[in-house]
């Protein structure tokens, strides 16, 4: 095949090249291709003239529009903060005043939901209801107190965290550390379970529960209080209310008393602003209030 032969189907001339049976038509590049090359190149050129584009040694062409992405973002952030007047009210007013203002609380719920979802939901769940090992924040039971100040403090310093003022809580490992023998642990576990379920006290485990009460009085009251109602001083939970962090079935309570517990809650002082933490405090309290 030589230059000048035609492809019968298209009527185009062939280039005369052939590779293992593959031939090529000598079709010229269609005009539309040159057109679009021109259009895109023109677009690029205009964009280069208007915007920061080409390097010149240590600087670069700034572009006729003088637009600088970082400057724009900086201005937007300042402007946004100026417009969010409600956050200034959050910063200044006290809890009771904010809680009384329905409109402001609406904003707190909106912002709080996202803040909670991004920072707290991994542990406490999206609805704040917690899960095994993580306390329910939507109930009335508080380990460290349910006043706004107490909750705000918990969020600020965390629990068993690396914050110098962290709240510290420790449920001792009575079984593993051999403070109590196995029978004593079993008895006290039966007793603890009867605290929130008084019907058990007259059941078949009556003796064990009585023995357990003695163990409790000797070992547990210092933290959980004489009637097992807990103490917000040391973060010891109320054992009579039927709310459980680690589970209220026999095995879970046994695991708690045998192996101990030490929940970890990060400190947020350095990670969230004062206003964001205040919003979260209000948000968390609002969960339980419903």
């Amino acid at each position: 095949m030589s230059v000048g032969d035609y492809d019968p189907y298209t009527g185009q001339r062939l280039t005369g090249h052939e590779w293992n049976g593959i031939k090529e038509l000598n079709t010229p590049v269609p005009k539309v291709v040159w057109f679009f090359l021109g259009v895109t190149a023109l677009f690029a050129f205009v964009y280069w003239v208007l915007m920061p584009a080409w390097p010149l040694g240590v600087t670069y062409t700034k572009g006729l529009l003088g637009l600088d992405e970082r400057e724009i973002v900086r201005e937007k952030v300042v402007e946004a903060a100026r417009q969010r007047t409600w956050t200034q009210r959050i910063a200044q007013e006290d809890y009771a005043a904010i809680q009384a203002d329905a409109e402001l609380m609406q904003k707190v719920r909106q912002a709080g939901r996202t803040l909670f979802g991004d920072n707290c939901a991994v542990c406490h769940g999206t609805s704040g209801k917690g899960g095994p090992g993580y306390p329910n924040l939507a109930d009335k039971a508080w380990l460290w107190g349910g006043t706004p100040e107490a909750v705000a403090e918990t969020i600020r310093v965390g629990i068993n965290s690396d914050h110098p003022q962290t709240r510290t809580s420790q449920m001792l490992a009575f079984g593993r550390d051999q403070m109590l023998d196995r029978t004593a642990v079993l008895n006290v576990v039966a007793y603890v379970q009867s605290l929130s379920n008084p019907a058990l006290a007259n059941g078949p485990e009556k003796d064990a529960i009585t023995a357990g009460k003695a163990v409790f009085e000797a070992n547990c009251v210092s933290c959980h209080g004489p009637d097992g109602k807990g103490s917000t001083e040391v973060g010891a939970p109320d054992l009579t209310d039927g709310f459980w962090i680690y589970g209220g079935d026999r095995q879970s309570i046994f695991d708690t008393v045998w192996g101990g517990r030490q929940g970890y809650m990060p400190a947020w002082e350095k990670r969230l602003s004062d206003v964001d933490r205040k919003i979260l405090t209000l948000y968390v309290l609002d969960l339980g209030g419903k």
Partner: protein, 550 residues
């Protein structure tokens, strides 16, 4: 296989394998107490096994002079099979991690089963394992046919193929063990990277040595693309992987770049890996198998040339569009964006040239699933390059970046273009080199085609939806001026799309399994025939020069 090597080549093979085994041993000893030892052992074991293989065939009769009358296709055969095996592994793991995003707890509390370790097994498995082996295999086939010259020797193609697969094995097993540089698509560590450089230099030399002996006046455009692929990937690989190992006894290294320079180098690499590995290489494949299968002349020689130089020139600038609105200076982003926009023209030029080549053969496209694979691949190539240019525009990117839209875009290219053109080419080349009239089952090719199309569409539509929803959720503000949705909210919204994606990906992976089976059965059919073939004549006619059209 060994009987195809000359005695000298067998000795060379043993020498090289001994050297590799010693290197592996050295790594294992230097790296004792580190995971490097595992890889040292793996390298040594691979070399020793191959040494036994060479020794077992060492005294087989040497190949005669008549080999010069034939193309050397055994490495291509092996490469095709390896590509299909990697396709099944890579796509299988891909679907696994897709389900992992639906059921994140599916990790059996094992480190190797975590998303971060499995994902690169998927990406490297499909890009390097499947794509790379397919490129090597087809490039050997195309190079010989279009140059009318046999590969220069029998040893170096095997060195490239086996060496390359050793690299893939080190990569994949390393990820599972936790060895990674944490650079996307460049995860393997320094010793694997160095090994790949050696392999790649030999690969390029095969190309040059064959082209120098070509009996055609011109170099076909497919070879231009294959060579651009080999050459540029070498440059990208070397620059992006510049790093200092902690010691020769440690798998860990530190990159030569830091901060925003590191990010820019990485995405200059990453984007050009798309350009020269996933585009140029496969365009080379397309430019041979599509016109050949269609039996039509290439629509335009000039468009081929213009497209080639446009693509090679403009892609080089585009990488910074991966870093819009980041610490990267704005002027670099501008350049990345504008060149990406211009890039659409040469990209569509290549796609148009391919589609117009099919003029006069559309009846074949209708009847022949193999050709239809290639046609559809070109359509997806056009779609995804358009989408790519579109997404590189900063305003669009501010919505699409970091979302599943990007994932959808990548897969429109990876499934729709790269995998389809590869399957089409493999279904074309397998009967040719195994000397069969057709694949074992054309019905299975047809089934594979429809599974691939359905899978790709489900995948891409799911990711478009989820990506755009995600992007919108992340930028929606409440009237109080704070973000309206938390990240978890967007994850919950993604779940149905993740399920759809995993199903679409499942279709595609099942297609690959069918493909492997079909290839395997074709090979069995061929070897059954060979067993029945009559004896060869005592004096074979020695044809000195290779004929076109073989």
């Amino acid at each position: 296989m060994i009987s195809e090597l000359t005695r000298g080549e067998r000795r060379l093979a043993l020498a090289v394998l001994t050297a590799v085994a010693i290197l592996g041993l050295a790594l294992a000893v230097a790296g004792r107490g580190d995971i490097l030892a595992v890889h040292g052992g793996l390298i040594m074991a691979s070399a020793v096994v191959l040494m036994f293989f060479v020794i077992s065939g060492y005294y087989a009769p040497e190949p005669g002079e008549e080999r010069f009358a034939q193309y050397y296709d055994t490495p291509t055969k092996a490469g095709v099979v390896l590509a299909m095996i990697w396709a099944v592994i890579g796509m299988g793991v891909g679907d696994w991690v897709a389900w992992l995003l639906v059921y994140p707890e599916m990790t059996f509390d094992a480190a190797w089963a975590s998303f971060g370790r499995l994902r690169p097994v998927h990406t490297s498995g499909v890009i390097f394992g499947f794509g790379g082996n397919a490129l090597i295999a087809t490039s050997f086939h195309v190079l010989q046919r279009t140059s009318r010259a046999r590969l220069p020797d029998q040893f170096s193609p095997w060195f490239v193929l086996i060496g390359y697969n050793l690299f893939c094995l080190l990569a994949a097993s390393g990820y599972l063990l936790g060895i990674t540089q944490s650079k996307e698509y460049a995860e393997p560590e320094w010793y694997a990277d160095l090994w790949l450089v050696v392999v790649w230099v030999v690969y390029f030399s095969i190309y040059l040595r064959t082209l120098m002996r070509r009996q055609e006046p011109h170099i076909y455009v497919a070879n231009w693309y294959y060579m651009a692929f080999i050459l540029v990937v070498a440059i990208l690989h070397i620059v992006n992987n510049l790093a200092v190992p902690i010691s020769f006894g440690s798998a860990k290294s530190y990159s030569a770049f830091a901060g925003v320079q590191d990010a820019m180098t990485q995405w200059w690499y990453g984007h050009n890996a798309v350009a020269f590995f996933l585009t140029a290489g496969f365009l080379g494949m397309m430019y041979y198998y599509l016109p050949k299968r269609a039996g039509r002349p290439v629509f335009s020689y000039r468009m081929g040339i213009l497209g080639f130089w446009g693509i090679t020139f403009m892609y080089m600038w585009a990488g910074s569009h991966h870093l819009h609105y980041t610490a990267l200076p704005q002027w670099v982003q501008t350049l990345g964006m504008t060149f990406s926009v211009m890039l659409i023209v040469p990209s569509w030029l290549a796609a148009a040239n391919a589609l117009l080549t099919l003029n006069g053969a559309w009846d074949k496209v209708r009847d022949d699933a193999t050709l239809r694979f290639m046609m559809l691949a070109v359509v997806f190539y056009g779609l995804s390059t358009f989408e790519g240019s579109f997404m590189s525009i900063r305003a669009v990117n501010s919505l699409s970046h970091y979302t599943d839209w990007t994932v959808g875009h990548v897969h429109a290219g990876a499934l729709g273009w790269v995998a389809l053109i590869t399957f089409g080419s493999i279904y074309a080349v397998v009967p040719w080199i195994w000397k069969q009239p057709s694949m074992y089952s054309n019905k299975l090719v047809e089934a594979h085609f429809w599974l691939s199309l359905a899978g790709t569409l489900i995948y891409v539509f799911a990711m478009w939806n989820s990506g755009i929803i995600q992007g919108l959720m992340w930028r929606t503000y409440s009237e109080g001026g704070t973000l309206a949705y938390s990240f978890i909210d967007s994850l919950v919204a993604m779940r149905p799309y993740y399920i759809a994606r995993a199903i679409g990906g499942g279709f595609f992976a099942v297609g690959a399994v069918i493909g492997l089976y079909n290839v395997w059965m074709t090979i069995r059919q061929a070897s059954a025939e060979r067993a029945e073939a009559p004896d060869a004549p005592v004096v074979p006619a020695l044809a000195r020069s290779l004929q076109a059209g073989e």
